[in-house]
Symmetry: C2
Subunit: 236 residues, 2 copies
């Protein structure tokens, strides 16, 4: 029987390439996305198209209210979103776009679903290079969560499942992720990275996430196929 994997899918470059990694390994894919009150309202729509593109077995979209908790520029209008930062400053400090315990919440749901469907592998597109410096994207955190999975669940305690948190991108630069995604057949025109897109869906080109994406495409030597507010952002 084909082995199952749960893949956290935000609809960005990293999670989409991660899904492609899981697919190439032969897993039956259970993609998991969240409406969590994020500024980018297009993210989940793009995730749906990506899930369809890859022919996933199931795409579960959960609505969770992180706006009620706040504490981040992505979920609270009270906190301003950094734009036009120097690339060398990105990742040096944890920025206001950090969402408290977001990956812990996402992984907790992924674990619940994995246990229910009998999947041992949970894929998440975290990477420590060319990242925003979020603490819950580091390998040390991921390893602690993996250990937790095998203490938290009935299936693990009874020896039926041994959970693994799979992070195929952890040591790749953004350019390497994009190159690898291209090799694996990812259609990057379906992906969306901007923290704060315009109402027409165009990416701002100025937030940390757009800047890291644009730098990645440039270094990888590919044209970024998505639409930006200012087309000069995207010069490849």
């Amino acid at each position: 029987m084909q082995k199952k994997a749960v893949v956290l899918l935000s609809g960005g470059v990293d999670s989409t390439t991660t899904l492609a990694f899981a697919k190439i390994e032969g897993f039956e894919i259970y993609a998991l996305s969240f409406h969590y009150g994020q500024r980018n309202i297009f993210e989940v729509e793009q995730a749906k198209k990506i899930a369809k593109f890859f022919g996933v077995k199931e795409h579960l979209i959960l609505s969770i209210d992180l706006k009620a908790i706040g504490g981040s520029a992505l979920t609270s209008e009270k906190i301003s979103l950094p734009k036009n930062r120097k690339l060398t400053d990105i990742g040096r400090e944890i920025p206001s776009t950090y969402v408290p315990a977001r990956n812990t919440i996402f992984l907790a749901y992924a674990l619940a679903w994995a246990e229910t469907i009998g999947a041992e592998d949970i894929f998440i597109g975290v990477n420590a290079i060319d990242s925003s410096g979020y603490p819950d994207c580091r390998l040390t955190y991921i390893k602690a969560f993996e250990q937790l999975c095998n203490l938290a669940t009935k299936a693990a305690v009874e020896g039926k499942l041994q959970f693994k948190i799979r992070t195929p991108l952890i040591n790749l630069s953004k350019a390497e992720i994009i190159k690898k995604g291209m090799e694996l057949g990812v259609d990057f025109s379906l992906t969306h990275s901007c923290y704060d897109p315009l109402p027409d869906g165009k990416a701002c080109g100025k937030c940390d996430s757009c800047q890291l994406r644009l730098k990645g495409f440039k270094e990888a030597g590919f044209h970024d196929p998505i639409r930006y507010v200012n087309s000069t952002n995207n010069t490849n």
Copy 2:
């Protein structure tokens, strides 16, 4: 300034007594409850009354859809709920009322809220004695989650907060919890434990949770003030 604590509050005997412990320690209480698709639709209403009784600073009620994930007799009608089990059988095996990764999901939200409001202490009413044998109620699991908190979050990584998962009931029997609750002024008529109450709110008296509760009150030598379907259940 008064220190803040997040308290997970289901509205049962354990979480309510845990709240009383946090209160007596002098914390400003931020109570957190969930509509998660549980069979007991009265639970959250009782939690509201308890939060009011204790004069908490804030009571956050989040709706999260664990029904969409299923895998438990508490969240799926497809899985039958054990009733009338022998007391000596309860806790020997993990029963079908186990909800995949429930405490991991609850604690993840509690962590997000704690970080946002600047609380270091997160209280949860798990206990290993007179329990249903859930893996995510054991101290080894709780310690692993505590360790995770301090890797997962900006506030911990930056040295601003050191999270502690507080489990004042971990080594108490149900009778001891009830005695302690009485000492601390808990009004147990506000609590609700039944996994599957009747539409009029009466507890079934037969599920594991009712049985553990009734045994606890009996051993503690107190009358259980809530209403049961069959009043002979409650003979003290």
